[in-house]
Amino acid sequence: MLPVGYYIALSSFMFAVGAVGVIVRRNPIIMLMCIELMLNAGNLALIAFSRWNASMDGHVFVFVVITAAAAEAAVGLGIIVAVFRQKSGDIDMDSLSEMKG
């Protein structure tokens, strides 16, 4: 196996890129996708460490994380669709700063 640091470096790069994406972008779909990027980075780190320690617990963890990401994506997209019905045109997340719809 390669030194685990290689995989962790890649995972941290992806995580940081995802974090920057969530902060910088305004389009809600792209923000959700950057959140998925961050979750993926975490999964990669989990699998790398699981291989390094020869333990299958990391795989089970990743299984649950993928499932939770699916649930979160579904609900998040539902929210976006519901918000989109209220406003016409593209949604600017920066302007959606109040709870009142």
Binding site: G5, E36, D94
Partner: protein, 171 residues
Amino acid sequence: MTAELAVFITMGAAAAVTASAVVLSKNTVHAVIYLVMNLFSIAVLYLALSAQMVAFLQIIIYAGAIMVLFLFTVMMLNMTGAVEAAEDRLLKQKPLAAALGLMLIAEVVMGTVGLFSKPSGSMAIEDGFGSAGEVGSRLFFGYMLPFEVTSILLLAAIVGSVVLARKKDEE
């Protein structure tokens, strides 16, 4: 140059490039395609790490179902990504964002790359590591409660998204 190093360099580069492309892309559909490519590269890296079951699960669930959901939403709502050209609130917001973002990425990577780069030996794995049977037995013997709670979470997500996206009649 072992096979694993070659796979890591190609797929790692693909993952890094496509991840940056997701953040930098102007067109939303292109961003979805880049993320799918990223998920696929990560799945190949999982295969290099002997995680067969998780790799295929990633392709089936993540790249094959969740991202299709994203694609449907983008296509149905016809999001063009033109919202990025809206007015900035702070002065010189965009260059500041770029500079600070790059600093964050550099800090995070430098913080982790020094930790584990000593090639200390990984523990030996047995033959069936990462196969479906192993994941299944570990999941059902020992992590049964999280499994059931996850299924309830999925049920909650299904009900929630149906309620959210339902058309309400006008009064």
